[in-house]
């Protein structure tokens, strides 16, 4: 049984009585201890689907259909209290901007200690000792003194370390990290991602890493879901997708990024047009207006997700060869 099994998840935004699906029929699973990356651009539904898993959707967003099974338990059948207990203890989340997810008027220590007391039922002094251990584990030097400090005393990288310490406090089985290093400098990004990778390995924690950075996926994830327009368009082993993408969107993404490991004179091949706007209705495959290979059927029928790809005409290795 996978740790997390999301089945046919559809999440919609209701605004002025109009329902707009943001996540459409998304199914994927996460095994214990593995790192799954979710890649996509703005509006792809990558963040909304993870918020749905955490039960943290804003009021206007609702799960329309589908199941989210965590160790076989359907999270949608749990009440708020039961779900609240699962958060922190079984799964936790690290967000992009640590300044907005930490309380600015409370010390770092009280925020970490609170989550330990809450999730593990420790006494205050035990929780404090555990908080110091956690800060040391995530590489915050001089942990005892820093417990008394406030978020504004910490740099961006250090705040993200604190968030990881909080996420880790109760040794959850799953951590969802939503663009955890997008706001950080590149040398600090490497430190934070290496830290997360090491911690997940040491504790056997599964990690869902949401990012738009294809390099990060290549360095840290074993499996990847590529999302576009609210759907998973391709899913599978990271290596296989990078070496031979089967969905035209995955191929387009990989050819759009300038790379340090390639000749700089290789021209970029951007995908035409703009990412699908959830508020605009697009018939058939949502990628078809931007797809160089689209045909008549792509405009009419939503391609089913089969064998790891949702495309009427998945690319084959030969086609890729002749195109490049």
């Amino acid at each position: 049984m996978p740790l997390l099994d999301t089945q046919n998840l559809t999440v919609s935004l209701t605004q002025d009585g109009i329902e707009t699906p943001l996540v459409r029929d998304v199914s994927f699973s996460v095994e214990r201890g593995e790192t799954l990356a979710i890649v996509g651009e703005s509006g792809s539904g990558k963040s909304v689907s993870s918020l749905a898993i955490m039960g943290l959707l804003a009021k206007a967003l609702q799960i329309q259909s589908g199941r989210i099974l965590f160790e076989g338990r359907d999270l949608r059948t749990l009440d708020d209290e039961a779900l609240r207990q699962m958060r922190g203890r079984d799964m936790s989340m690290v967000f992009q901007e640590p300044m907005t997810s930490l309380n600015p008027v409370r010390s770092i220590g009280s925020q970490i200690i609170e989550s330990i007391e809450e999730n593990l039922g420790f006494s205050r002094s035990d929780a404090r000792a555990r908080a110091i251990d956690l800060l040391k584990e995530v590489g915050v030097a001089d942990a005892e003194r820093r417990l008394k400090q406030y978020p504004h005393h910490f740099s961006g990288g250090m705040r993200q370390r604190v968030m990881i310490a909080i996420a880790l406090a109760a040794e959850p089985k799953l951590i969802i990290a939503d663009e955890p290093t997008t706001a950080l400098d590149v040398t600090i990004q490497a430190q934070i991602l290496d830290l997360m990778a090491r911690i997940c390995k040491d504790h056997g924690t599964a990690l869902i890493l949401i990012t738009h950075n294809l390099g990060i996926v290549a360095r840290y994830a074993q499996r990847v879901n590529v999302m576009y327009g609210g759907r998973i368009v391709e899913s599978g082993d990271a290596r296989a997708i990078y070496n031979a993408p089967r969905h035209p969107y995955s191929e387009g993404l990989l050819r759009s990024v300038p790379r340090l490991d390639q000749d700089r004179s290789i021209p970029l091949k951007p995908i035409q047009g703009s990412p699908a706007d959830p508020f605009t209705s697009i018939s058939g495959c949502r990628f078809h207006p931007r797809c160089p290979y689209a045909t008549h059927i792509c405009k009419q029928e939503v391609p089913p997700f089969t064998a790891g790809v949702a495309c009427h005409f998945p690319l084959t290795a030969d086609a890729l060869e002749s195109a490049s």
């Binding site: 651009e41 759009s256 490991d261 700089r264 703009s274």
Partner: protein, 337 residues
Amino acid sequence: MTALLRIDDVSVHFPIRKGLLQKQVGEVRAVEGVTLSLQRGEAFGLVGESGCGKTTLARTVLRLVDPTLGAIWFDGTNISDLRGKALAPYRKQVAAIFQDPFSSLNPRMTSGQILSEVLHVHAFDGSIPDRVSELLSLCGLAPRFADLYPHEMSGGQRQRVGIARALALDPELIVCDEAVSALDVSIQAQIINLLEELRVKFGLTYLFIGHDLSVVRHLCDRLAVMYLGRIMETGTSDEIFSSPRHPYTQALIDAVPAPDPDGEDAREHVNLAGEIPSPLDPPSGCVFHTRCPIAFSKCATDVPPLQRLGGHHAASCFAIDQNKKTTDPKIRNAKSQ
């Protein structure tokens, strides 16, 4: 040939004032002794992390900030002393593209109005509506975009309007401050290609500020790597990326993950320890010594000069002669030196 833009030993210091009398209690040395020159028609990159002074330097070139020391020469004229009206001709020849087109475009004006305003202010002689459609089409936007407000456009389209505005007065130099950083991957590639195309078409010169090394390498012929206000290394893109000589440059390149799982697995990573020190209180000697894997005692006391390495390549590091083993950007082992 004289350089189009010459930044001559420029330092920018901001005073820190405190108390009722606003007494100066210290200063932030945002840029310290930077010398660069840009040839006409080239794209020059400035890379570095937060607080390295790249944006302050760009703002100094735009004359939004005054240099504390040094001078900026544009096409043979010292523009760092010019004030008020005397600056008008310079402002026509230098334009800027900013990171976030949503905050740099007036939300109450259509893109047509935004573009006409620039033309109007600088007394464009010719048909303004014609020029507006020409600018839009140069940037890949249909004429109907003239009637749209910023919020009616996507991020990529807004950035195209930002570029059209920069092009409006036929400038010589465009300062691009993180011009593609806020865009989605697929859109970023479109804008990078557009910037390249426009540079070739109009013989533009770019000062391109960015934190994404792969983007800067792709777009720029030459670049400078900055750290805490100083230039650590400068050279052509090929010199810097195929044989980086400064340990900071090496670490920066190493920190960028490549979209290639096999390559990433094969690569050994050495992360820089520690954080970027505050520019309020920069380290003594070489500003990088506190994080440098190969620092020795001299680095903490003396400031290393920018040393020529042949070609355009120069780096400021005392250990430059010992630190040249690395030639393949995929194999980086600064620590083993």
